[in-house]
């Protein structure tokens, strides 16, 4: 919207308007963007701490990435290249809609290539390819507080965060090991950020959790429904909660390889083909396509350095284990 008040109903409903016409740049009004940016800056200053912000209504239902969109649209400028992925896929309806909203209102380029994007909005995954200090990853967050697993009261949990009192969470881990022989948490694995705040990394698989540690890029986590933003700035210590003798482990896929590209060092999901047969496939579709074209393509091929730890499977341990496996009880 332009700064001037509309003078008539006709002006508001100008049938000729499309794209940017009639909307403020990047859809959100400037006050909202400023509000989101302020919250984001604060979140970056206090890594892992949940910062409240005035979450706006968005043209899609809460829970479909409204927080992520507000964060992305507040960050985007005309020179940005935007990528949106939904559980590893650029092609899902939701990802496509979000991409189109940004495209039409912010006048930006979009891409499916992880290495070409400056801002990536994602749900439930961190890309397989190593992100750089030129890139920002915006994660959509359904549940902001890791402690909600052990106590439903946000009030009590805020007090716990204030005093770094995470013993309840530790007891939950203890109970999990007692019952299952290991920590039985798949997605949303709780992590300690910079030794201070316990953080819910959003429902990324454990596979992606190690990528949060000492990364070159900025991670912004945004929840629309809960109106909270938190962040992990580059090169922050991020440690998954684990006992000294029960190390954190990522998912492992035994001898399986991607049915499409043959990769054995990527996060695989089991899919059912049209023939009804179950097979494994890369969850990150854009990287899978690269691998299909060039099976030697490494996760850090686009970088000059090649010693970057980016989660499992970056050459250090091809079996996808991190740490020393742990012992049996």
């Amino acid at each position: 919207m332009t700064d001037a008040e509309p003078e008539s109903l006709e002006e508001l409903h100008d049938p000729s308007s499309e794209g940017l016409e009639g909307y403020n740049y990047a859809y959100l009004d400037e006050h909202t963007k400023r509000e989101v940016r302020r919250a984001t800056l604060k979140a970056i200053s206090i890594p892992g701490h949940q910062v409240p912000y005035a979450s706006r209504a968005m043209p899609l239902a809460r829970g479909w990435g409204t927080g992520g969109i507000q964060a992305s649209l507040s960050l985007l400028g005309p020179d940005d290249v935007f990528k949106v992925i939904d559980q590893g896929s650029d092609a899902s309806v939701n990802a496509a809609n979000i991409r189109r909203l940004a495209e039409t209102t912010a006048d930006i380029e979009t891409t499916t290539d992880t290495t070409a994007a400056s801002v990536i909005q994602t749900r439930h995954r961190i890309p397989e390819e190593v992100l750089t200090d030129d890139q920002i990853l915006v994660l959509q967050v359904p549940v902001t507080d890791a402690l909600r697993r052990v106590d439903g009261s946000d009030d009590r949990n805020r007090t716990r965060h204030a005093h770094a009192d995470y013993s309840k969470m530790w007891v939950a881990l203890y109970e999990s090991v007692v019952q299952w022989g290991e920590v039985d948490i798949g997605a949303r694995y709780p992590v300690m950020v910079e030794g201070r705040y316990l953080m819910d990394p959003s429902p990324i698989p454990r596979w992606d959790v190690p990528k949060l540690h000492d990364a070159d890029n900025l991670f912004v986590f945004a929840a629309g429904r809960e109106a909270r933003i938190y962040a992990i700035p580059p090169h922050t210590d991020v440690e998954p909660l684990a006992f000294e003798d029960r190390s954190f482990r990522v998912e492992h896929f035994d001898e399986e390889a991607c049915d499409a590209c043959g990769s054995t060092d990527t996060f695989l999901t089991e899919v059912e083909g049209e023939d009804g047969e179950r097979r494994f496939a890369c969850n990150d579709t854009s990287f899978c396509e690269k691998r299909q074209r060039n099976s030697d393509c490494a996760k850090d091929d686009h970088l000059e350095r090649s010693d970057i730890a980016w989660g499992p499977g970056t050459g250090i341990d091809p079996n996808g284990f991190v740490g020393d496996g742990g012992e049996d009880i």
């Binding site: 007090t159 005093h163 009192d165 013993s167 309840k168 530790w170 007891v171 203890y174 109970e175 090991v177 007692v178 019952q179 006992f243 000294e244 003798d245 029960r246 012992e327 009880i329």
Partner: protein, 272 residues
């Protein structure tokens, strides 16, 4: 050596006014201030407890003994007074963070109501482990063996360690609370009505277990009970409370057999 020095512990529920303390107490036979209607739960309660010593606090319900226990366990704020713990200063004056550290590492509490002391949805072992985890234990194997050892010491069947605490008998739950209370080798343990709600036969064994551990570990203890026989069996010295005030204090056998205060005499004479 003195481990705990409590001085002038006072707890007033309500707005409080200048008349509260002067118009309540045993000589007025009330704890509600006639001026402002505040309740003086306890006032001017002072005592000290040494390492290895057991102090009993007896009184009827409403005497203020549980308020004293809550204050000592850092579960409630005092309106006035100090509680100095050796090496830690006045813990009532400590901020939340330090209170938590002190509660986690230097205090043990056995609650009258199991829900205040245990999380019944956790395993019995998990409840004890919580205390260790709070104190920074991070090695699962070490935690397991410490919890196992504490179960053995408090005579809870070790093979029930991984069952939900909900499935335990009342006596076992009380023992798990004791295991939890002593898990970090605290300097002070506070027991609030340690036998209430238990079968008579179970009461005796819980008391015996606690007394053995208390002597072995030389831990300062405050035991709050309306049951004179519990205090008689555990305590070296005893305070008798009424309407929020201490009316008599002394060696436990002296207070029981040669009570001086009128109220204590009535109390002793009421024992069946």
């Amino acid at each position: 050596m003195t481990f705990l020095d409590a001085d002038g512990l006072t707890k007033v529920y309500g707005e409080g006014c200048s008349a509260c303390l002067a118009t309540t107490g045993p000589e007025y036979d009330r704890n509600r201030c006639p001026e402002c209607d505040s309740v003086v739960a306890c006032a001017d309660v002072s005592f000290e407890v040494r390492d290895g010593e057991v102090l009993g606090i007896v009184g009827e319900s409403g005497s203020g003994k549980s308020s004293v226990a809550e204050i000592l366990a850092l579960d409630a704020d005092a309106t006035a007074g100090t509680a100095t713990i050796r090496g830690h200063g006045d813990v009532l004056d400590a901020d939340y963070q330090r209170r938590r550290e002190i509660r986690d590492e230097h205090l043990g509490m056995v609650h009258q109501h199991v829900h205040d002391g245990l999380n019944l949805s956790f395993t019995g072992g998990g409840n004890v482990a919580e205390k260790l985890l709070s104190a920074g234990w991070r090695h699962y194997g070490d935690i397991r063996s410490r919890v196992r050892g504490l179960f053995e010491e408090t005579e809870v069947p070790v093979d029930r360690m991984d069952d939900s605490a909900e499935t335990y008998s009342g006596g076992m739950q009380r023992r798990v609370q004791i295991a939890k209370a002593i898990a970090n080798d605290p300097g002070l343990v506070v027991l609030d009505e340690p036998t209430t709600g238990l079968d008579v036969s179970v009461q005796a064994r819980v008391l015996d277990t606690f007394r053995r551990l208390q002597r072995e570990q030389d831990v300062a203890t405050v035991v709050v009970s309306h049951d004179l026989s519990v205090v008689r069996l555990l305590a070296d010295r005893v305070l008798v409370m009424r309407q929020g005030r201490i009316v008599e204090a002394g060696l436990t056998d002296r207070v029981m057999e040669d009570p001086h205060h009128e109220y204590t005499q009535t109390l002793i004479n009421s024992i069946i």
